[in-house]
């Protein structure tokens, strides 16, 4: 495993276009926000309706302009995956983030991959626990204690279908 601590990382290189990726851990939302910040254009953010932890636009400001974010709140997990597929297939957004705690299974993630290949956008599922599936890469993200002004993150690439694994500590 590559230890890239201290090096900067271009997420768009690792999270390839037209594929669906996964991120988990307490820093997953922050990971998604940073990835969105490195891309241009609208970002679709899908969360299940009625969740406790809501996204706060002011918290996104350091990474991207919240005006770029379009939120969708499907009523249940299945609706969320269907909506994610629709978003990926349309290709209107370069990044679609789905917060789906119960990770997609093999069939579901395969469908998402096909949709992403059609639309040429990126998909990122923020999951609770890893399941065997067709995700292109999987990241474990956690914040690290550090200075207040420059919060640090530890990102571990735990699965990569075509490439090496690695870990990064970023500011």
């Amino acid at each position: 495993m590559l230890d890239m601590s201290g090096h900067s990382i271009d997420l768009t290189q690792w999270l390839t276009q037209a594929r669906v990726h996964e991120a988990m851990g307490p820093g997953a939302r922050s990971f998604a926000a940073r990835l969105a910040g490195q891309l241009e254009g609208p970002v679709l953010w899908l969360t299940q309706a009625g969740g406790r932890d809501r996204l706060c636009p002011q918290g996104l400001v350091p990474h991207l302009d919240p005006a770029r974010v379009i939120l969708a709140h499907p009523p249940d997990r299945l609706g969320l995956l269907q909506a994610m597929e629709e978003v990926l297939r349309s290709g209107a957004a370069p990044l679609a983030v789905a917060e789906v705690a119960h990770a997609p299974d093999l069939t579901e993630s395969r469908r998402l991959q096909l949709a992403a290949a059609t639309g040429k956008g990126r998909g990122l599922c923020l999951i609770g626990e890893a399941r065997t599936n067709a995700a292109e890469t999987r990241w474990t993200c956690a914040p690290l204690p550090g200075e207040q002004e420059s919060p640090r993150q530890k990102w571990v690439l735990v699965k990569n279908k075509r490439g090496t694994l690695g870990q990064w500590e970023v500011a």
Partner: protein, 500 residues
């Protein structure tokens, strides 16, 4: 203009006025399915902070009630009075519907005060067998709708209105002035206060008013009074401007044989879309909400509705939105006819077609998502001018809002939730370690406080605890938490957010 006589109006002009004195009450009875109810019935609404009768049924009028009476008085006079709350917006709809209905008698139909329809019937009467026969037909048609109608026919709009309200009947051509001479000034459509003042001066009839010097009349009672007088007598023209018919975007397809396959319904829909979209393009409108109704062989209706994030009139795009909904329709034993109607439209300027811009693709995506999960569930953030963290932004439906940039501000959490009490934080000082969501945290470092005061003009139950001192806490375990301390009723610590 003064004393010019009836020459100002078009010769041969005849105006029919239909006064509907019990319209609101009778229309409501008809709507509720018991027209001609023999019991007293009235509509009550708020007039200057008092609950007053707005409209009474003929039966209620016979019992001694009249509009303008307070509800309490009316109840005292007539204890078994049935009332319903007034619905002014519905009343307007009823009036417009009646105006359309009256177009069977004349193409020029207008509305006048006190629920009166005015029809320019010049050159129409002979089609109905003369003026008397026309009036009889109008009366019969109104009776058929269970509406009490009083009809007046004269050379002028004002004259017809006066006759309809005070002495229903026909003023023969050229005789309007003579008929109006003896009528009270109240027939002139002028303010009640002016009527009273005129009566106090002994000017009780229109004839008396017409004979006094015009300059003095204008000085004492304003030009409006003079204008109304001239309009009634025909010295000043008063045309009827009919409501312009709003274009209706709909198309129907009747099928020779019932169909049942989704593919066939889509083919029918394509033809309808082409027609409706051509109509929309002609009027520079775009559809926001469309409904496809399929009438089945067993005469049940199945319908599919779509909405759009931006007004549109591209048949292929609308077809794509319908695809999923049509698949869900139940064709039963087959579908006889299809009807497509644009329920909501908005102005849409013509634009270059063929090139699909990026924003159009996003709008298409919002439409598709909205039709799948509901438009209220596809949203975006909008900045809001408030220093309260949870009110510093609002959430607006993406289909009805434009993206707005956020100004940079103080550091705020990425995840915000309803405040959760800290497991063991009671002291005034920031706890060294604490319990949150069943996990123990140790404070590594902390920044703060940032004091946020509640907005006194906005009574938010969550902020009744008063001032809050916010701290950013870096835990040794990793997560950065947004904590705050309240002082009332006792010192307590809460977690409201999670940083990145």
């Amino acid at each position: 203009m003064a004393g010019s006589g009836p020459s100002a109006t078009r010769p041969g002009r005849r105006v029919l006025a239909i006064a509907l004195p019990h319209l609101a009450a009778e229309a409501r009875l008809r709507h509720e399915g018991n027209p001609g109810l023999p019991a007293p019935f009235a509509i009550a609404g708020a007039v200057k902070n008092a609950l007053c009768l707005v409209s009474v049924s003929p039966a209620a009028q016979a019992a001694g009630l009249h509009p303008g009476q307070t509800l309490a008085d009316a109840r005292a006079i007539c204890p078994d009075l049935i009332t319903r709350p007034a619905r002014p917006e519905r009343h307007q709809v009823t009036l417009r519907a009646l105006a359309r209905w009256a177009e069977q008698f004349s193409p020029l139909v207008g509305l006048d005060r006190d629920d009166t329809l005015v029809l320019d019937i010049s050159g129409c009467a002979h089609l109905f067998g003369g003026e008397a026969a026309l009036c009889a037909q109008v009366a019969a048609a109104c009776a058929g709708l269970n509406l009490t109608a009083r009809i007046g026919l004269a050379d002028t709009r004002g004259g017809a209105w006066a006759l309809a309200h005070l002495a229903p009947g026909i003023a023969p051509a050229g005789q309007t002035r003579r008929v109006l001479e003896d009528m009270p000034v109240g027939a002139l459509r002028i303010e009640a206060a002016t009527v009273e003042a005129l009566s106090a001066l002994g000017l009780a009839t229109i004839g008396a008013l017409a004979r006094i010097a015009r300059g003095q009349l204008a000085r004492r009672f304003g030009l409006q009074t003079l204008k109304r007088l001239d309009q009634a007598l025909g010295a000043e023209p008063e045309p009827i401007s009919p409501d312009r018919a709003r274009p209706h975007f709909a198309a129907r397809l009747s099928l020779p044989e019932p169909i049942g396959l989704t593919r066939d319904v889509m083919a029918g829909l394509e033809r309808l879309l082409e027609r409706v979209c051509a109509d929309l393009a002609r009027e520079y409108q775009g559809a926001r909400h469309l409904r496809l109704t399929a009438t089945r062989v067993d005469s049940r209706d199945e319908s599919a509705e779509i909405r759009l994030a931006r007004p549109g009139r591209d048949p292929m795009r609308l077809r794509a939105l319908f695809e999923r909904k049509v698949g869900e329709m139940d064709a039963g034993f087959g579908i006889d006819s299809l009807r497509l109607v644009a329920l909501e439209t908005e102005p849409l300027k013509p634009s270059q077609t063929g090139r699909e811009s990026k924003s159009e693709r996003v709008h298409d995506l919002i439409s598709r998502l909205g039709n799948r999960i509901g438009f209220e569930n596809v949203t975006r953030f909008q900045p809001n001018d408030s220093h309260i963290p949870e009110r510093a932004f609002t959430i607006a439906a993406a289909a009805w809002s434009e993206p707005q940039s956020f100004p940079a501000g103080r550091q705020r959490p990425l995840t915000l939730f309803a405040p959760e009490p800290l497991g063991d934080g009671q002291g005034r000082d920031l706890p060294r370690r604490f319990l949150w969501r069943a996990q123990r945290f140790h404070v590594h470092s902390a920044t703060g406080p940032e004091r946020i005061a509640p907005e006194w003009w906005w009574d938010d139950p969550a902020w009744r605890t008063g001032l809050r001192d916010y701290w950013w806490v870096q835990t040794a375990e990793g997560p950065r938490l947004w904590l705050y301390r309240t002082h009332h009723p006792q010192v307590a610590w809460w977690v409201q957010g999670l940083g990145d």
